[in-house]
C-alpha cells in the first residue's frame, strides 16, 4: 500500500518535472530552474505522511595566518580548523496538517580527533508545526521564528546594500550556526498560534495571533552550555488581532515580558540573596496601513503603514524583609477604681510577632510612546520597477520595547586566531578591543566541540569554582577526566538571539559600524527623524538602491546622517546568458554630529559563472571608522615619577581611526542545487591608527591571510 502511494507520488513528481522544465526553460538560468524544481519537489514531499530525512553535510577547512608587529614571538600564528559538520533534519508527519521537526548536529573536529573519542549528536531544533482546521490556524510549538510588528515583536537586521554574494553566504552560515536567519523574525522557544479567517463578507481577513515563550535572561548564560534552566529566566507573552478590508488593515498588538517572581521566591531557600531584580516591559501598539494594490491592480500603487506604541517599563527589587505584626488582645486584670478591694476587669495587651516577608519595591519606572509612519509608492512601468519609501519616526527617550529592539549582531569578539597573544603591554587595551573587527565578526563563525574538563567548565581565569581549596591539590588534577564523552559545543560567533533588558542595553557597547543611527531598529528609544529608501531596477538588468536618513537624538542633541548607494549590473540578464555574471558596488557613510564619529563602508562584488557548473565569486569590503573628536583612549596605572609608592593613570594609546579590509575570492563547483565544492582565499586586514604616549601617530596592523576549502552536500 505504502509502496503504491510512493509510486503515485513518484509519477506525479516526474510529470511535474517535465512541465516545470518546459515552463521555465526559456526565461531563467539553469540554477534558478533547478531551485524551482527542488522547491516543487519539496512541496510534494511535504504533503506525504511518514518520516523524511534531509540536511546538509559539510567538510571544511579554514586556515588563518596572522601577522602583526606586536605579536609575541612565542604566539601561535596559524589558526586551523578542519571539521566535518553534519546538520541532519528529521521531519515526521503524523498527519497531512502537522509536521514534527528535529534537527541534529554532528561535529567532528579533526584537530582534536584523539581527545574527542566518540562524538555525540546534539539536538539543535525541535518543533511541531502545522496548519490545522482547514488551514485557518497555524501553530508552532517548540523552536519558532515569529514577528508581529516593528515596535512589538521583531528583529532589526543590519542592512548592507549589494553585499557581495561570497560574503553574504558566509554571513548566512554564521547566522545559521545560531539557528538565526536574515528575516525580521525573532527566534523563540514556545508556542505560537495564528488564526486567519480568510474572506468574510466585505472583510478580506480577520487575524488573531498569540505567542508565548521563555526567554533567557542572565548574562552568565551567554555562552555557557550548562544548567540551562534557571528560575531567573524571563517569559514573554504576546498577542495581536486585526482586520483587513478594502486594501487597508488595522491591528492591535500587545507584548509583555516579565520575570517570574513567585517561583523565584519559592526556590530562594532559607538564605536568599539580598535582593532579586526584575525587569517588566509591556508594549501596546496600534498599527494601520493601506495599500492601493490590494484595492485595484495598477502599474503604480501607493500606500502607507504606521504604528503607534505605548511602552511601560518597571524595574523592581524583591527582598526578604523582616516584618513586625502587632496583635491586640484583651487580658484579665484587677481594677481598683471603684473599690480598693479590686474587681475583675479587662485590659488591652499589645503583642508583636516578627516574620519574614517578601517585599517588592519598584526602583525605576518609565513610560514612553513611539510612532512611525511610512508612506510608499511602487511602480512597474516600461520595464522600470520602483519602490520608494519614506519613514518618519518619533520615539521618546523612555520608550522601551525589549522584544522588538535587540539586534542579532551584538558584540565584537575574537573569532579567528583567538589563541594568539601579543607582547606590547602599552597596547593591551587596544588589542583587546580591536584584535578582531566588524568584518571578521560579520562573516566568520567558528564552531568547536571541546572536551570538557575542569579547566574549561565554569572556569574564571585561573581558578575554578568547582574546587574549594586551590592550594591543597594541583588545580589540573581533573584534567585527565577528559574522555568522558562530554563535549561542549562552543561557538565563536558574533550573533546572538538573546534579548536585552533595558538596563543591559548600553549604547557605548554597540559597534558604531552597524546601524549607528538606529542600533535597535525602529524601536530605538530617543530618536526622531526621517528615513528614505529607494529600490529600483530596469528589466532586472540594472539595480539601484539608495538610502538616506537624518535621525536626531533629542535628549542629548546630536544627530546622525546616513547615506548609502548600491548599484548592480546583471550582465547575464542583459545578454540573456545561461551563466551568472553580475557586478555590484555599494557605498555607505554614517556620521554622528557631535563627536564627528564617521563610518564608511565600501563594497564591490562580482559573480562569474562558466561552464554551467563553475563559478568565480569575489568580494571586497572596506570599512573605515573615524572616531573624530571622541577618540577611544586606553591606559593603565603606572608608578608615579614623583612618588614611587603611588600610581597614576597614564593614557598609553588613543585610537583615532580604524580601517578594515576584507578581500575574498573563490572558485566554486556546483554539484547539485545547494551542494558545492569551493576553494576560497583572501585577506582580512585591520589597521588601527592611534596616538601613543607621547602623542606620536602610529599604525597597528593586524593582518590575516585566510584559506578556506569546503564540500557542502545537501540531501
Amino acid at each position: 500500500m505504502k509502496l503504491k502511494k510512493n509510486m503515485h507520488t513518484m509519477v506525479f513528481k516526474i510529470v511535474l518535472l517535465f512541465f516545470a522544465v518546459t515552463a521555465f526553460a526559456t526565461t531563467d538560468s539553469l540554477v534558478q530552474k533547478q531551485e524551482v524544481m527542488i522547491q516543487k519537489l519539496d512541496s510534494i514531499d511535504n504533503s506525504v505522511m511518514g518520516l523524511r530525512l534531509g540536511g546538509t553535510a559539510t567538510a571544511g577547512f579554514v586556515s588563518s595566518k596572522l601577522t602583526s608587529d606586536p605579536l609575541s614571538p612565542n604566539s601561535p600564528t596559524r589558526d586551523n580548523q578542519a571539521y566535518t559538520h553534519l546538520k541532519l533534519r528529521l521531519d515526521a508527519r503524523p498527519s497531512k496538517e502537522t509536521n514534527a521537526r528535529v534537527e541534529l548536529t554532528l561535529h567532528k573536529d579533526w584537530h582534536q580527533a584523539q581527545e574527542e573519542g566518540i562524538n555525540p549528536v546534539i539536538g539543535r531544533w525541535f518543533s511541531y508545526d502545522g496548519k490545522i482546521l482547514n488551514k485557518i490556524v497555524d501553530f508552532n510549538f517548540g523552536f519558532l521564528r515569529v514577528s508581529d510588528t516593528p515596535l512589538t515583536l521583531f528583529t532589526p537586521q543590519s542592512e548592507i546594500l549589494q553585499e557581495p554574494t561570497i560574503f553574504k553566504e558566509h554571513r548566512v552560515d554564521a547566522l545559521a550556526d545560531r539557528n538565526l536567519d536574515t528575516t525580521n523574525n525573532r527566534l523563540l522557544q514556545g508556542l505560537n498560534v495564528h488564526y486567519n479567517s480568510g474572506k468574510l463578507g466585505v472583510l478580506d481577513n480577520i487575524y488573531a495571533q498569540a505567542t508565548g515563550a521563555r526567554l533567557r535572561a542572565t548574562a552568565k548564560k551567554y555562552d555557557q552550555v550548562f544548567f540551562d534552566f534557571d528560575w531567573s529566566d524571563r517569559y514573554f507573552a504576546g498577542g495581536r488581532t486585526g482586520l483587513e478590508a478594502y486594501g487597508a488593515h488595522l491591528g492591535l498588538n500587545y507584548v509583555n515580558t516579565f520575570d517570574r517572581i513567585r517561583s523565584t521566591r519559592a526556590v530562594a531557600g532559607p538564605n536568599p540573596l539580598a535582593a532579586y531584580f526584575y525587569d517588566f516591559n509591556k508594549v501596546f501598539t496600534v498599527d494601520a496601513g493601506f495599500d492601493s494594490k490590494n484595492l485595484v491592480s495598477l502599474p503604480i500603487s501607493f500606500g502607507v503603514d504606521g504604528e503607534f506604541a505605548m511602552s511601560n517599563w518597571r524595574y523592581r527589587a524583591d527582598s526578604l524583609t523582616q516584618k513586625t505584626k502587632t496583635h491586640y488582645s484583651l487580658i484579665e486584670g484587677i481594677s481598683r477604681i471603684n473599690s480598693y478591694e479590686g474587681e475583675s476587669s479587662f485590659y488591652v495587651q499589645k503583642t508583636e510577632s516578627t516574620s519574614k516577608d517578601w517585599k517588592l519595591k519598584t526602583l525605576l519606572k518609565e513610560d514612553g510612546n513611539a510612532f512611525y509612519v511610512t508612506p510608499f509608492v511602487k511602480a512597474d512601468l516600461f520595464g522600470f520597477n520602483l519602490d520608494l519609501k519614506a519613514t518618519y519616526l518619533q520615539n521618546d527617550s523612555n520608550f522601551w520595547a525589549e522584544m522588538a529592539s535587540t539586534p542579532l549582531y551584538q558584540r565584537n569578539i575574537s573569532i579567528l586566531n583567538a589563541d594568539a597573544f601579543y607582547d606590547n603591554q602599552l597596547l593591551d587595551g587596544v588589542i583587546a578591543s580591536f584584535r578582531s573587527g566588524n568584518l571578521e565578526n560579520l562573516y566568520f563563525s567558528i564552531y568547536n566541540s571541546n572536551v570538557l574538563n575542569r579547566q574549561n567548565l565554569m572556569t574564571i581565569n585561573a581558578s575554578t569554582t568547582l574546587e574549594s581549596d586551590g592550594t591543597s591539590d594541583s588545580r589540573f588534577v581533573l584534567s585527565r577526566l577528559y574522555n568522558n564523552y562530554k563535549l561542549g559545543h562552543f561557538y565563536k560567533n558574533a550573533y546572538n538571539a538573546n534579548t536585552w533588558k533595558r538596563l543591559e542595553f548600553l549604547v557605548d557597547d554597540l559597534d558604531p559600524s552597524v546601524n549607528m543611527a538606529l542600533p535597535l531598529g525602529l524601536a530605538t528609544p530617543d530618536r526622531q527623524g526621517v528615513l528614505v529608501s529607494l529600490d529600483a531596477d530596469y528589466k532586472k538588468w540594472f539595480e539601484l538602491n539608495a538610502r538616506f536618513s537624518k535621525i536626531e537624538r533629542q535628549s542629548i542633541d546630536i544627530d546622525y546622517t546616513t547615506i548609502a548607494v548600491g548599484l548592480k549590473a546583471n550582465v547575464d540578464e542583459i545578454f540573456a546568458l545561461h551563466n551568472d555574471l553580475n557586478i555590484a558596488f555599494s557605498a555607505e557613510e554614517a556620521k554622528e554630529s557631535k563627536s564627528e564619529l564617521k563610518t564608511t563602508r565600501l563594497n564591490a562584488g562580482v559573480d562569474i559563472g562558466f561552464l554551467s557548473k563553475w563559478s568565480v565569486l569575489a568580494g571586497l569590503q572596506i570599512l573605515n571608522k573615524d572616531f573624530g573628536k571622541d577618540p577611544v583612549s586606553f591606559g593603565g596605572l603606572y608608578p608615579s615619577p614623583d612618588d614611587p609608592n603611588a600610581e597614576v593613570f597614564v593614557t598609553t594609546a588613543t585610537v583615532q581611526k580604524t580601517q578594515e579590509l576584507f578581500a575574498l575570492g573563490g572558485l566554486k563547483y556546483k554539484i547539485a542545487p545547494n551542494s558545492s565544492l569551493s576553494l576560497q582565499g583572501g585577506v582580512l586586514n585591520n589597521s588601527i591608527t592611534y596616538l601613543d604616549m607621547i602623542g606620536k601617530k602610529n599604525d597597528l596592523d593586524i593582518d590575516k591571510f585566510i584559506i578556506m576549502a569546503g564540500l557542502k552536500v545537501n540531501f
Binding site: 502587632t326 491586640y328 486584670g333 481598683r336 480598693y340 478591694e341 479590686g342 488591652v348 499589645k350
Partner: protein
C-alpha cells in the same frame, strides 16, 4: 453548573471582604465617640494606664527570675523593703492617680486595715506589689514607675475604650452641666450577655470631676 451555584454565595462575601479595611487604626477611629479625649479617659480610668506599668514591671521581673539570679527569699526581702517604705508608697499612690484629696490616703489605709482584719485580705500588699521591681531599691522602684508612666502607649488606652471600656460602661469624659441627670446604676443599665459579662452598650457615661460620680450621657 452545580458547583458554580454552590460558589455564588461567595461573591457578596468576597466583595465585602475586599471593601472592608483590616487595619486596626481605622477601627479605633470609627469606634470612638466624637468627643472622646484620651487624656480625660486616662485620668478617669487610671487603672488602664497603671496596667501598662504593671505589665512592664512584671515582664522585667520575670526575666530576672528566668535567669535564676534571684531566689524566692531574696524577692520576699526585696518586696518587704519596698512595702515598708511609706514615703515611696505614698508617692506611688499619688502617681497612680488615686489621690483625689488629702483624705484619700487615710481612707485607703483605714479601709485596707479594716478589710485585713475582717476577711484577711491584704489590700495594701496586693495594691502595691505589682510595682516592685526586683533587685531595686524602693526609690528606684518609684523612678521606674515614673519612667514607665512617661512611656505609656496612649493608643492602647484609646483602644481599651473601644474594645472593653464602652461595654464595661466606663466613663470616658468629664460631665458637663447638662449631663448630670441620671446616675450610673451598676448593672441595672446593663444587659448581661451570654458570657455573663454585663454589657452597658449603647449607654455611654461621663464622670463628675469633683464627686467622681458617673452619669449617663443623654
Amino acid at each position: 453548573m452545580k458547583k458554580i451555584k454552590y460558589l455564588v454565595w461567595l461573591i457578596p462575601v468576597s466583595i465585602m471582604m475586599a471593601c472592608s479595611s483590616m487595619a486596626v487604626d481605622n477601627a479605633i477611629e470609627t469606634a470612638l465617640p466624637s468627643d472622646f479625649n484620651v487624656t480625660d479617659y486616662a485620668l478617669i480610668n487610671p487603672d488602664v494606664v497603671s496596667f501598662q506599668v504593671e505589665t512592664k514591671i512584671k515582664e522585667s521581673n520575670q526575666k530576672l527570675k528566668d535567669k535564676g539570679a534571684y531566689s524566692a527569699a531574696d524577692s520576699i526581702a526585696d518586696l518587704s523593703a519596698f512595702l515598708t517604705d511609706t514615703s515611696v508608697i505614698k508617692e506611688l499612690f499619688d502617681l497612680l492617680g488615686y489621690k483625689t484629696n488629702d483624705e484619700a490616703w487615710d481612707l485607703f489605709i483605714s479601709q485596707a486595715d479594716s478589710i485585713k482584719d475582717t476577711i484577711k485580705v491584704d489590700i495594701y500588699k496586693d495594691f502595691f506589689t505589682p510595682y516592685n521591681s526586683l533587685n531595686k531599691k524602693p526609690n528606684d522602684d518609684l523612678n521606674i514607675v515614673k519612667e514607665e508612666l512617661k512611656n505609656v502607649d496612649y493608643s492602647l488606652v484609646s483602644l481599651h475604650y473601644s474594645m472593653f471600656g464602652e461595654l464595661n460602661g466606663r466613663a470616658y469624659r468629664y460631665c458637663t452641666k447638662d449631663d448630670k441627670k441620671t446616675v450610673k446604676q451598676n448593672l441595672n443599665q446593663a444587659k448581661v450577655n451570654a458570657k455573663d459579662i454585663p454589657d452597658f452598650r449603647p449607654n455611654r457615661y461621663c464622670q463628675d470631676k469633683n464627686s467622681k460620680i458617673n452619669y449617663l450621657i443623654k
